[in-house]
Structures are given as structure tokens and as C-alpha cells.
């Protein structure tokens, strides 16, 4: 483990009723790295995200964020430490406006009393407006999230991630259901975000993964099958076997 490693998973297993969703998985992500994770359905990609964010407790193994053991913390504590997660199905708060969704995600004291006394000051407003600009939703700021299109909801959710100011972003299938143009826009957005933060993207769309232009990890049956550039993994015989063989 180098000093640049931000996320460290070693020998992690998750067993549900005898089914090994994760099987001695080891994965290291560096600071500022953009990483794509691909794999067939049931490879354990979402379970891996659940383990990192505290939704699922691993049956065995080590999960560390810098030097902190994540297996001892709950979702809220992990999120506050600087790990943000975008879900596969975009979940934004429909009853609130786009602006309010971002305001809720903005890094600020999270206790009930702090929320009660919260006043939206200039600096916070400026950050929200910047993010609105970045995700291209400035014109929709006062609309309820319920009336956004699918792509816009995905971006709003990425925007909410940015507001949390995380060091590590976990992004689950960001371009599912997006048009080609939206997909391109999203790839550019994620490339821009990486560098200052680490980003882990789980995705099925290989064209999109190619556009991300980063190291790719292939997962299968709960462990890592192959790692390298998109061209390397696409020519790895074991990967071909898994994707086309059976």
C-alpha cells in the first residue's frame, strides 16, 4: 500500500446465505485516479460499492479509506469522511427544487440543530451556482426535481456528489439510459472531476469506458479477473471467455 493509495480493499468477502457475492476481492485506488470497473451481471460490482459505503458489512477482509477502517462505520459517517456515492437508479429528492437538492448535499454541519439554524450565506450560494453551471442545470434551479428528464436527474445526482466535496466518488452506471450526446458530456464531466478527486465508475457501456480513457478493472464472480487499459483487458483471453465464452 503506497502513500498515494486512497482506497484499499484486501481479501474482501461477502457471503449471503452461502452465496459468495464477493470472493477474496482486492482492489487499490490511488489519489486522483479515475478507475472504471466492468463485469457481467452478478459480478459483485454493486456489492463492492455497498461494502465501501457501509451499507453491507463484509464477512471478511480489510476495507480502508486512507488509514481508516470502513467496516466499523455507518453510511452517514463514511459519507462525512469524504466518500460520495451515486446510485444506479438516480435518487434525487422529488419534493425539493434542484437548488434545494444541491443545498442539502452541500458540505456543512449535519446535525438537526445546525440544520435548523442554517442560513444560506454568499459562499455557499456561490458554490451551488458554480455546480449548477457545471452540471448544466442553471436554468432549472427553481424547478422541482420531479419534473427533470432522466439525464438531468443523473447530472443533478452527480452535482449533489460534488457538493459533498468528497475525496472519492463512487459512480454506479452514470450513463444508463442517456443519449449519445449526454453520454459524451458525462464522460467529459467525470474526467474533469478526476485529478482533484478519485473517481470509481461502474459501467456496462464499453464505448463510454473507452471515452473515460483510464485504467479498467474487470470483475467476475466476486473477484478481480483482469486489470489494465481498455485495449489490454479487451484482448485478455480470460475476459473474452467470461463475456463471450459461455
Amino acid at each position: 500500500m503506497t502513500s498515494h493509495t486512497i482506497l484499499y480493499l484486501d481479501d474482501v468477502s461477502v457471503v449471503f446465505d452461502g452465496f459468495r457475492a464477493l470472493n477474496n476481492l482486492s482492489l487499490f485506488v490511488d489519489q486522483g485516479e479515475l478507475r472504471a470497473i466492468i463485469g457481467p451481471n452478478g459480478a459483485g460490482k454493486t456489492t463492492m460499492m455497498d461494502v465501501i459505503t457501509g451499507k453491507t458489512r463484509p464477512t471478511g477482509g480489510t476495507v480502508k479509506f486512507r488509514d481508516t477502517d470502513l467496516t466499523l462505520l455507518d453510511e452517514a459517517a463514511i459519507a462525512t469522511m469524504g466518500i460520495g456515492r451515486k446510485f444506479q437508479k438516480p435518487t434525487v429528492f422529488d419534493a425539493l427544487t434542484v437548488f434545494e437538492n444541491l443545498e442539502l448535499a452541500l458540505k456543512a454541519p449535519r446535525g438537526p440543530m445546525a440544520c435548523l439554524r442554517w442560513v444560506l450565506a454568499g459562499e455557499a450560494r456561490r458554490r451551488i451556482e458554480e455546480t449548477l453551471e457545471e452540471i448544466g442545470l442553471t436554468a432549472r434551479a427553481q424547478d422541482r426535481a420531479a419534473i427533470l428528464s432522466h439525464g438531468q436527474r443523473q447530472w443533478l445526482e452527480i452535482g449533489m456528489l460534488l457538493m459533498q466535496d468528497p475525496e472519492l466518488l463512487l459512480v454506479d452506471e452514470p450513463v444508463a439510459g442517456m443519449t449519445d450526446q449526454e453520454t459524451e458530456h458525462t464522460a467529459a464531466l467525470l474526467r474533469r472531476i478526476a485529478g482533484t478527486r478519485s473517481v470509481v465508475v461502474v459501467e456496462h457501456d464499453l464505448e463510454f469506458v473507452r471515452a473515460l480513457d483510464c485504467k479498467v478493472t474487470v470483475m467476475c464472480e466476486g473477484s478481480v479477473l483482469s486489470e489494465g487499459t481498455i485495449d489490454q483487458v479487451q484482448h485478455d483471453p480470460r475476459v473474452i471467455e467470461v463475456y463471450l465464452g459461455r
Partner: protein
Amino acid sequence: MSATTVTLPATPRVTLRLVLWGAVLALALIPLLNQLPESSALHVGDFIVSVTGKWITYAILALAIDLAWGYTGILSLGHGAFFALGGYAMGMHLMRLIGPRGAYGHPVLPDFMVFLGYQELPWYWLGFNFFPYAFLMALFIPGLLALIVGYLAFRSRITGVYLSILTQALTYALMLAFFRNDMGFGGNNGFTDFKELLGMALNTPLARAMLFYASLVALVGSYWVCQRVSISKLGRVLLAIRDAESRVRFLGYSTTQVKLFVFVLSAVLAGLAGALYVPQVGIINPGEFSPGNSIEAVIWVAVGGRGTLIGAVLGAFSVNALKTWLTTAAPDLWLFALGGLFVAVTLFLPRGLVGLFSRKVQK
């Protein structure tokens, strides 16, 4: 704050505020009109004063339920328990004030204790002869119970129908406990025969008017507190928890903490309502804990319109007005009407009575 005000056009908000203050003013007139000679056309009978005073306390209970259910999605079917506990705390004070005027004439012990052969006052009755202490207990005990139950339930992530069943069981268990004579709370007779409060003889027009105004002030205060919460960022967090709790957790909010805060605040408001209710109706017994009461209070909120404060208040007044009229006109029909009302509102008016008016305001 600014973000919320922008979403609503200015005119309906101003109109709403005018209507609200108008309604408060109209209510405030009731005890005054009661003072007019009976021959006057504007005279309002004693019955109206006492029944409206009672409804005001119900409206506070409705606000408490709305904050938990309408805003945060915590459907408590046991809020009547917090109301009743507040009522019992006030009842204990009123019992202590009877002093030697009881039927047995004992200087300290209330009648039922003499009857049951108590030699001295149980320790938990000490201090209740002081009004400030009793009043604080009326808020503190419901709050403490909500803190314990809420902590255990929310920490274990008990939500939805399971939480409803849990709270329902809680109020039922308390009802059975309070029915027992050896609890020291008067068993199934509860407390009654109150004489005075804060030096005022109860059952006089003055006491009635004072309790009425105290309730009205408490209602306005509770409304203000709930509104403060709902327009703050906390209010937005509550709505977010109601709609997608796990997502809020992944944003770094401890939803357990936030829900606990709301649940305790809600229980304290319910306790306040109970404490104001008991001196007005002159009796408190374990029947107040019955699950039906809690469910009825939830129906007020559903009928008025959950998730809006004005809806909760409107619901409490309108359903109880209907109840007062119907239980006199056709007592057997009341429960059918209540059930039918709930079904009808759920099917045809999911946003309650308020939804009828505000359809144009909120698209």
C-alpha cells in the same frame, strides 16, 4: 429560505397569513362573546367555549402528528400516549391542589389513595403540587418516552408499518398499565373532581376563558415552532427523509438523529396539548391511551392535509366539529362516518382539504 419563498408566488402566502390571523382573532373573540348577556344576538354559549377550547388542544396534537408523519414520514399510531401522559402530569397537579377538600378529607392523599389504603404519597407524586414542576413534567415525560422508544426504533431502522404497529402497541401497553390500581394513578377511574388551578376555581367563566386563551397561545406558539422547522433546511431534510431515507444517509446525515429530534419535539407538543386538555374537560383516565384515539388523531391530519401545517389544524377542527354534531344527532353512525371519511380522503383527496384550495398554488 429564499429558495422556498421563490417557489411560491407572493400573493397566496400573504393571503394565507391574513386568513390565519383572521382565524386566530375569530377564535379569540369566542370567550368575549360568551360574556355578553344571553339575550344578545352575538352571545356564545358556555358549551361552545369549552368545546372550542378542547378542539384547540386537539389542533396542537394534530400539528405534532403532522410534523412526524406529514413531514418526516414517521406514522405514529400512538401519539395519543404522549397526549395522555401530558394530561396525567397536569391531572396529578390538579389532584394535589384538591388537598383536604376531597371526599375523605385527607390533607395530602387524593381520594383514590385513601380508598386503596395508601399510607403516604408515592415518591413519583412528590413535587407535583408545584405548578411549574408539573407543567415541565407534562412536557418532559412524553419527550423522554419518545426519546427512548425513538432511539431504539430508529437505531434499529424500524420504519413504515412496523413503526406504526410498535407505537400502537406502546399506547395499548400504557393503557393496560394505567388501568391497574397499584400504578398509583387512580386505575380505571383516573383523576377527576378537580377544584382549582393557579388559584382560579375551575368551572367558572373566568377559568374557562383563561384556559381557552392559554390553549390558543399554545397553538399559535406550536404553529410557529413547526413553521420554523418546516421552512429551515431541517424541514427540507425531513421531506428528503420521508421520500428517500437511505439516500439522505448516504449524503452524510444521521437520519436517526434527525428523526429522533422530530419525534421528541412532536411528543413534547402532544404532551403540551394533553396538559391543556385535561383542566378543560375536567377528567383524565386510561381511556385516553386507547389506540382508537391515536388513530382518530391521524385521521384529522389526513383529512386536513398532511405535510401542511394549516391542514393539520383545519383537519382537527373540522373532523371534531363533525364528531360533536354527529355524536349528538346520530351517535351510532360516528365510527362509520370516521372510517368512511378516511377511505374517501385517501381515495379522492390525497392532499386533504387543503388540496382543494391550493391546487392552483402548487402545480
